[in-house]
Structures are given as structure tokens and as C-alpha cells.
């Protein structure tokens, strides 16, 4: 009996266009859009060299200490290195003005009797350049003062102290050395949503078994197959279908789109497995409490969207507001638990928080399953 019902349900599901579209095609299309939309997000974090120009003055500029200080940290005449801060072009004053006007450079430098830095409007390139020049001039003035007032201090190492730059910021990674990529969070959210999409598929497992929902369900209830067993066999097939769908989406994201989930792919897979089952019972639990098909679907879709909203899929700030003011909602919202499990994999080195989320998700799943069985076990109906 199990094999018979299981295989037919699987066959029927694989031929249901709506289920295929919403569970498989939609997440794949969405992840592809993410790939193109957010593909450059991580590049935004990378450093772009600041373009500067130096006004040529018969080679005089090359004798300037500032010019010599710029050479090791600048790409001049194609001698580039990864550590370069500036890209410098040697130009005439007219060319410099034109480049500045066209926005091609952050500013240009005059090495004359008096050092002159001409910058365009505000910008981080301009700020960095000004900060660099101020720092250089301040240091040069300090050294000049020391040489003039107290030359003996050089022997005591004062010059090294002046050159020394103490950093008071410490950069630490809590993600086992993996570089942070904010676009991965979007893919996590997408995978959580795909898990919950299973709820729309599992609604049909309830509809097809409640005798008051359709003639087909009445016929099944009149058969010698116990309703509870039929439900379990059907939900097994739906779970396999949903897990297969999520696995395809995961393979597509990792292998085709090349998204790297780090070394935590097994935990991601485990989360998806439990997330799929939670999604299915989320759908069944909601759909057993109402008779109308339309209301069932409305509640399941609405519930999925609400859960996703509370999880911060649409606005990250909502997640923080919920955590601050209505923390219990995080424990009953499947999307919140799934995404939080993903986030904890992403942000934390340890797995304590991850397994905490998984435990709550498991308890929620057991509760939803028990509730479904309790309501569904009703043997006959007051009206059909």
C-alpha cells in the first residue's frame, strides 16, 4: 500500500505544473536574477585606486620629497602593484584641469615654490588624498623642526617614532577566515523561502483526504485505506519531491551560479532538509483548520509571506524589531528559524547557536505534525 500511494503521489506531483513552477522554476529564476543583480555586490567592497595627476614642470617635480613618497604607493607609468593607493598621470596644467572637470581624476598636484593640491568635489578619493597630503606635510614639518631645534634627537630614535603609525583598530573575522560576502545572505533567504514553498504543495495532501473537501476525497475515505496512513504515505512522497526540488536549487546555486557557501555545505543541506519538512507541516497544519480551499491557500501563502517578512527577508530591520519587541515570534515563525540557522552558520564560528535554532525548528515541526494528525484523524464529518 505504501509503495502504491507513495509512487502515485510522486507521479502526480511531478506532473503538476503549478508545483513545479513555484517550487523549482521560481527559485531558480530568482537565484539567477540575484546572481546578475548582486554579482557586483562583493566587488563594491574592494578598493579602487585613486586617480591623481601631477603637473609636469621640466622634471622639477621629480625632485620633490612628496613625489618620491608617492612613487612606492602609486601606479606611475604602468608600474602597478596591488598595494598601490594612487594611479598617477603626469600631465600639463591644462590637461589636469580638463581631467578634473571631466571627473577622470580626484585632483591634481602642482610642485612649485609652493605645493598646491587641486581637488574636485567631495568624495572618498578626495578625502583620502587630502588626508595623505596633510599627513605628509605634517610629518615633513615635524622632521624639519626636529632637525632645526634638536638634531641630537635623531640619534635617540625620535625620527623612527615620527614615522611610526600606530593602528588602534583591530580587524577580526568570526567566520573562520572566510571573507564576508553579503550576497550569500540573499541566497540563504531564497533557500529558506524555497523550503517554505513546500507548504503550498502539502495543502493538496490535506485537500485530497478531507471527505468534505472534494468527491475524490470522499471516495478515498470510503476506501479500506486508513486515512492517517494515506496522509503519511502522501506526505512522504511530497517531502521527497520537495527535498529533491530544493537539492536541485542548491546544486544550481552552487555549481551553475558558483555561489560558495564555504565549508559548511553539509550544515546548509541539513537545514534545508529540516526546513523542507517544517514547510510541509506548516502547510498541512494551517490547511486542516479551515474548510474552504481558497482560504486554505490564502492562509498558507499569507503565512509564508508573513513568516518571511518577520524573518527580515524583505527588510532586514524587521528582524531586529521582532527580536527586540516580540521575541517569541521568532520561535514560532519557521522562516525566522531557518534564516537564523543560516545566519548563524554564516556569522559564527561555533555551532551552538545553529543547533539551538535547529532544535527549536525540530520542536516546531513535531508540533505542526502532531496538530495536523490530531485534526485530520476525525473520522466522519457533520456535512459534506
Amino acid at each position: 500500500m505504501f509503495r502504491h500511494i507513495f509512487l502515485y503521489n510522486l507521479k502526480a506531483l511531478s506532473r503538476t505544473k503549478e508545483a513545479i513552477f513555484w517550487s523549482l522554476v521560481f527559485p531558480i529564476v530568482l537565484s539567477t536574477l540575484f546572481f546578475f543583480a548582486f554579482g557586483d555586490l562583493s566587488k563594491a567592497d574592494s578598493f579602487n585606486k585613486i586617480s591623481l595627476a601631477v603637473v609636469e614642470r621640466d622634471g622639477f617635480e621629480k625632485d620633490s620629497p612628496l613625489y618620491r613618497a608617492l612613487i612606492p604607493i602609486s601606479d606611475i607609468d604602468g608600474e602597478a602593484s596591488e598595494k598601490d593607493l594612487f594611479t598617477i598621470a603626469v600631465v600639463t596644467e591644462e590637461e589636469g584641469e580638463k581631467l578634473l572637470k571631466d571627473g577622470d581624476i580626484a585632483g591634481y598636484v602642482h610642485f612649485g615654490d609652493r605645493l598646491e593640491l587641486v581637488l574636485s568635489d567631495n568624495g572618498w578619493g578626495q578625502t583620502v588624498t587630502k588626508r595623505f597630503f596633510d599627513d605628509f606635510l605634517q610629518t615633513a614639518a615635524t622632521v624639519e623642526n626636529i632637525l632645526k631645534e634638536n638634531p641630537g634627537a635623531i640619534r635617540e630614535g625620535l625620527l623612527e617614532d615620527v614615522y611610526n603609525r600606530e593602528t588602534y583598530l583591530y580587524e577580526a573575522s568570526v567566520t573562520r577566515g572566510t571573507s564576508a560576502d553579503s550576497s550569500i545572505i540573499c541566497y540563504y533567504a531564497l533557500l529558506a523561502m524555497t523550503c517554505l514553498m513546500g507548504s503550498t504543495v502539502s495543502v493538496e495532501d490535506i485537500i485530497k483526504l478531507q471527505a468534505n473537501m472534494s468527491p475524490r476525497a470522499a471516495r478515498l475515505n470510503a476506501s479500506p485505506a486508513p486515512k492517517f496512513k494515506m496522509f503519511l504515505y502522501n506526505i512522504c512522497a511530497t517531502a521527497i519531491f520537495q527535498i529533491a526540488v530544493v537539492a536541485i536549487v542548491l546544486v544550481y546555486i552552487t555549481l551553475v551560479l558558483g555561489v560558495n557557501f564555504g565549508g559548511r555545505l553539509p550544515y546548509v543541506a541539513l537545514t534545508l532538509l529540516l526546513g523542507c519538512i517544517t514547510g510541509l507541516f506548516f502547510g498541512t497544519a494551517i490547511s486542516v483548520i479551515t474548510k474552504s480551499n481558497g482560504v486554505k491557500y490564502a492562509l498558507v501563502v499569507g503565512g509564508t509571506i508573513l513568516s518571511s517578512f518577520l524573518a527580515g527577508m524583505m527588510m532586514v530591520s524587521v528582524k531586529h524589531i521582532v527580536r527586540q519587541h516580540l521575541p517569541f515570534l521568532e520561535y514560532v515563525s519557521p522562516a525566522s528559524l531557518i534564516t537564523d540557522a543560516f545566519y548563524s552558520l554564516y556569522y559564527y564560528d561555533g555551532l551552538t547557536r545553529y543547533f539551538g535554532n535547529m532544535a527549536v525548528l525540530f520542536v516546531l515541526t513535531v508540533f505542526l505534525c502532531a496538530f495536523t494528525c490530531l485534526v485530520l484523524r476525525r473520522k466522519s464529518y457533520a456535512s459534506l
Partner: protein, 310 residues
């Protein structure tokens, strides 16, 4: 008795759908449950199948109390619902196989039964079709095939010919008689009296949740005063003429209906000759005159005061 219903009461709020229903169906018969829409036929069937809760009474099927968990009894019953109850995502053959598989475990036996059901419903050319591609008549035949494929002892059919073309209807009715000849007991509900008259060995007429009459076709017709219905199409049927006919001996009633004079006579001697003589004596010419025995509709009309199709 294959089905025995005693004192069954089912209420929907203030509406009494089944009012102390008493019914016994014998093994091997085609039993017709006839009544207008809303008379309680489908409610009675849903109670027999334990799909519906009821307020009072007992139901025994195959000598044992029927309940939602009486799986061994359910295994011996086939159900054909009023509305088509199949899966749209699987083919004709797969649908029959699916429902048959809920009753029959052995794969080989199931395959044989499914093929027989396909032949029975004459769906051989459509076995790979999806239900959405079938016409209304073919869908009804598929619906029946899904209900009878496992060769049940008791087949419950709830208005299986609603919205079916005459050709498919005849095939369905012939099929039901064939199943009965092969040993199945059939409980057949309909509001089409011609169907019930044609296939049922015993008939119960239902109205407002009660059995108002029960017996064979002839027994039911013998319950009423009318023995003959004479219809006359004529010119000059004045109220005086109709009054004279009403007062003739052996006549129950005479009324104009749809431009026809309908005369209902008492059981016994035919009054056709007497009416022809009266028309000739008065010089009234008539274009058509014919005599019929009463139908189940007349039985229903005389007992309840309303038409079956009201």
C-alpha cells in the same frame, strides 16, 4: 440483508435531512432510491459509507455495524460518487489502477481487474488520456470504472448519469445490469424515474428525508388510485365537456395541461372506449388520443402532491 438502516436521523441545523429513515436492501438486487433533489438520497448514502455523522439510528452493512474504521466492510464496497472523483494528473488507466490498488494488493490481479474495468467502461481507446481530455460522458464512465474495478459485492451509485449524453447513459445502465448479473448488489440513486424503472428490481421513493413508498415497479404503481392515463388532443374542449368527462363513471380526474386533456381513470376497466364514444356523441373531433399506464412520477405525485422534477 446487505444494508439495513433503522430509525436514521440526520439534521443540518434546523433542517431534517433524514427523518427516521428505515431501509432494507437485499443481497443481489438492484435497489433504486428515487426522489427529487434535496430529498435526502445523497445524505443517506454518505451516512451508509460513514462519511457523515448522523444524529440517531443504526446502519448495518453486510450484517455488521458500519463505522469509519470498518475497513473489512469497506473493502467489499464500490462507490461511484455523484461528481467525478478522479485525479487530473494521472491517465485514465493510472486512475483506475490507483483506486483499485487501495483494495487489491496483488499487482497481477490488479492489472487484470483494471483491464477488465477499462473494457467494461469501453475506455480502451482512451487509457493513456488525461481526464481533462475526456468528454463528460467518458469522464462519467471513468468515474464508474474507478468505483467498480475491484469487483465489489456492493456497489453504491449516486446519480452516476447526471449530465451524461443518452448514448453514454444507455451504456452505463447496461453496465450496471451486467454487474448485477455477475453477482453485485447495486444501490442506485437517481431523480430520473425512467432509469430507475428500467434497471431497478425494487424502488424506494424518498421525499423530505423519508421513504414514502417502497416496492417493485408494479407494486408502487398498484399503490395509487390511478390505473390509466388518457391524453386527448382536441378542439372544443369547453369547461362543460371537461365537467361531463369528470362525472363519467370510473374517472378520477380530468384537467387541461399543455393544451392536452389529461384524464385519469380508476384501476380496472379501460375508459378509452367510453371517452371515444362520448367525443363522437358530442361531435367533437380529436387529432390524437392515447392511453398510458401511470409512471413513477404519477406515483410520487399522488403520494406527495408534487412532481418528482419539482
Amino acid at each position: 440483508m446487505i444494508i439495513k438502516i433503522s430509525n436514521l436521523v440526520k439534521r443540518y441545523g434546523d433542517l431534517v435531512a433524514l427523518d427516521h429513515l428505515e431501509l432494507e436492501i437485499r443481497r443481489g438486487e438492484v435497489f433504486g432510491l428515487l426522489g427529487p433533489n434535496g430529498s435526502g438520497k445523497t445524505t443517506a448514502i454518505n451516512c451508509i459509507l460513514s462519511l457523515l455523522k448522523y444524529d440517531k439510528g443504526t446502519i448495518e452493512v453486510m450484517g455488521r455495524p458500519m463505522s469509519p474504521t470498518a475497513y473489512d466492510i469497506k473493502r467489499r464496497i464500490g462507490v461511484v460518487m455523484q461528481n467525478v472523483a478522479v485525479f487530473d494528473e494521472v491517465t485514465v488507466r493510472e486512475n483506475i489502477d490507483y483506486f483499485c490498488g487501495l483494495y487489491i494488493k496483488d499487482k497481477r490481479e490488479r492489472a487484470r481487474l483494471v483491464d477488465e474495468a477499462i473494457d467494461f467502461a469501453e475506455l480502451g481507446d482512451y487509457r493513456r488520456f488525461y481526464p481533462k481530455k475526456l468528454s463528460g460522458g467518458l469522464l462519467r464512465r471513468l468515474n464508474i470504472a474507478c468505483g467498480i474495478a475491484h469487483r465489489p459485492e456492493l456497489i453504491i451509485m449516486d446519480e452516476p448519469t447526471v449530465a451524461v449524453d443518452p448514448q453514454s447513459r444507455n451504456k452505463i445502465l447496461e453496465g450496471i445490469l451486467k454487474l448485477n448479473r455477475e453477482g453485485a448488489t447495486v444501490l442506485y440513486t437517481s431523480h430520473y424515474m425512467e432509469e430507475v424503472e428500467h434497471i431497478c428490481s425494487r424502488i424506494a421513493i424518498m421525499d423530505r428525508g423519508r421513504i414514502v413508498a417502497m416496492g417493485t415497479n408494479n407494486e408502487l404503481k398498484a399503490m395509487i388510485r390511478t390505473g390509466e392515463i388518457i391524453s386527448v388532443e382536441a378542439v372544443g374542449l369547453t369547461p362543460e365537456v371537461i365537467g361531463h368527462i369528470k362525472n363519467m363513471p370510473g374517472i378520477n380526474s380530468a384537467d387541461i395541461k399543455d393544451n392536452m386533456l389529461i384524464v385519469k381513470s380508476k384501476r380496472g376497466k379501460s375508459q378509452l372506449a367510453a371517452i371515444v364514444d362520448y367525443f363522437n356523441s358530442r361531435g367533437i373531433s380529436f387529432s390524437r388520443m392515447y392511453s398510458e399506464v401511470p409512471s413513477l412520477n404519477d406515483v410520487f405525485l399522488e403520494i406527495t402532491g408534487k412532481e418528482l422534477r419539482d
